[in-house]
Amino acid sequence: MTLCSTLALVLHLALATGGVIAPKPAPQAADDTSGAQAAWDQLDAIKGEGADGELTGEGLSAWVDTEKVPTLMAIVVFGLLMFVYQRKAKAGQEISIRRIAGLDAMDEAIGRATEMGRPVLYVPGIDEIKEIQTIYSMMILRHVARKTAEFGTDLIVPVKDSIVLTFAEEAVKAGCMDAGRPDAFVKDNVRYLSNEQFAYCAGVAGIMAREKPAANIMLGMFFAESLILAESGFMTGAIQVAGTAKQHQLPFFVAACDYTIIGEEYFAVTAYLTREPNLLATIRTGDFTKWIGITLLIMGVVLATKAVGAEGITWADVFLRLAGK
């Protein structure tokens, strides 16, 4: 806390007093822009656009929505990279993955539940199956179901949506099969509670209070109910592992859960749990794409800063147009 108050004091003083800083020259205007103009015209021709941005019906514009070409390129490049990394992974190249503490804790939590003879609660978020996070949560559920079936622990899965219910049943069934214990699947433990957010939430809170699961695993797409779920679970003293890529709910999970899987970490869960080369290759692709993105960002910033004060078409304009803006 002292560190923080010191920091706050320094910032406060800095803002209050201003300060005398040695003058620096104003940024230089960008120099020659004729090259950029030529590139711009070339782009017009390829895209099939006139000088005012209207369509000519030639070039790409005839059937492709030219504004979306950068998106198309992003998806294609991502797909190609994924193909390459998967080939490499199949050929035996090892891909290591950094530690994600929350996932290491999940096994531990299931183990503890077994020791205490209490069930494990898996909340797959409250969105519909059209949300990719929900689809993804179903894949994780399969692994969790395999673990609980192996340990012989009850797994309760309350769901908010009827389609998710079908998927959740399939996932738990498949997980039990994976563990070689198809008898471990209990149909009434995958429960449709309600399609209404807070009614669902109250239902889950009720399960937490009555059946006292020893571990609450909350992975998926969450909305305002996240705090109530985390808080209710906290009251029962269960180990809580939560994860979502929905940033608005992360503060509350960070606050009230023992472990939190943040943002993109969520999409690395299956790869982390299975170490399947195929999935690791996908994560690797995402990492590489991030490096590309950062490089492009820095290039763009340098060009844009150089272009400050320049007249006409600059390289920054060309760059941004290529980036889809």
Binding site: L15, K24, A26, I75, E131, A199, A209, P251, T305, A323
Partner: protein
């Protein structure tokens, strides 16, 4: 009682569907009872709350069922086929997604959709059959593709493109009111702006690198990741602050709304004024009844489940 947005009401009908009326007595008592019943959960799980909760589940499910029935079954199947047939009979051009289409094809496609929908229902009879998987597979494909394309466009490509900005800009001031201090502005260069943009870009890049999983965790990358975590935590902190603001605003509104029903027009004691009118107004009377019931239950030691 105190300053509230609701209009003062002199006389209210017992029940009305006319929206130009300020409100009805029955509605006032229902709203107050349900509001207080939900609030009673804060004390502990109790019969009032359970009643409100189950009413809520039933109504909520019915509300969504009707919405899906109207928008997802009647409109796309019944009304669509009716309008396609009408267009076919009149010899008009029938368009689907802006593309002109023969009406026989349009109706045929929709009939196939109806058959697939029945496949889905076959789950009620044969839970493990193959049939429900077909429509489910189509749904997964459609939604996965929709999200993939749309989000890549607006939240990846355009988001990065929009982040590109000069770190110096003579036309831009940083921090709004903060830069009224002339000490930070030198000719046409605003130091605060450059400093702030620097913080922005460093924060963005470090936070992105925190989400790199498979590259070797060198000391540099670990340090960068640490800076990224700091940025993320401050972000979460500010989201936390704003969420507090929003939730408390909702609570204040509920209290304000309850207060509006202390109006004499809703009171059982009529608007004779004074203590009785207030005591027999819906929020006060219902609040007292709920509190008394729970209190007596607690004293006898046989309330509902503990919260």
């Amino acid at each position: 009682m105190f300053l509230a947005l609701q209009e003062a009401v002199t006389e209210a009908p017992f029940f009305t569907l006319d929206t130009s009326q300020p409100g009805d007595v029955l509605g006032a008592w229902l709203v107050c009872f349900l509001t207080l019943a939900v609030f009673s959960f804060l004390y502990k799980d109790n019969p009032f709350y359970k009643f409100a909760e189950h009413l809520f589940v039933g109504l909520g499910t019915a509300w969504f069922t009707m919405k899906y029935y109207e928008e997802g079954i009647v409109q796309p199947i019944h009304e669509y086929i009716t309008s396609a047939r009408a267009a076919g009979a009149a010899g008009e051009v029938f368009e689907l997604g802006g593309y002109p289409l023969d009406t026989a094809w349009a109706i045929g496609f929709r009939v196939v959709a109806g058959i697939f929908a029945l496949f889905l229902l076959s789950r009620l009879i044969a839970p493990n059959g193959w049939a429900p998987r077909w429509p489910l597979a189509i749904m997964v494909g459609v939604y996965a593709a929709l999200k993939m394309t749309g989000e890549t466009q607006s939240k990846l490509v355009l988001l990065l493109a929009n982040a590109v900005a000069p770190v110096t800009d003579p036309n831009k001031l940083a921090w709004g009111e903060l830069t009224q201090n002339p000490g930070w502005r030198i000719e046409n260069w605003d130091m605060f702006f450059s400093f702030s943009m620097g913080i922005f870009f460093v924060g963005l890049i470090c936070a992105l690198l925190h989400f790199v999983f498979t590259f070797k965790r060198t000391r540099v990358l670990a340090g960068v990741s640490k800076v990224g975590v700091v940025t993320l935590m401050i972000t979460f902190g500010s989201m936390f602050g704003f969420t507090v603001l929003g939730r408390i605003a909702l609570l204040i509104e509920r209290i304000d709304s309850l207060d509006g029903y202390t109006d004499p027009a809703y009171s059982l004691a009529g608007d004779s004024g004074g203590f009785l009118t207030m005591a027999f107004s819906p929020p006060i009377l219902l609040g007292a009844v709920i509190a008394l019931t729970l209190g007596v239950g607690a004293l006898r030691g046989r309330g509902g489940d503990s919260a």
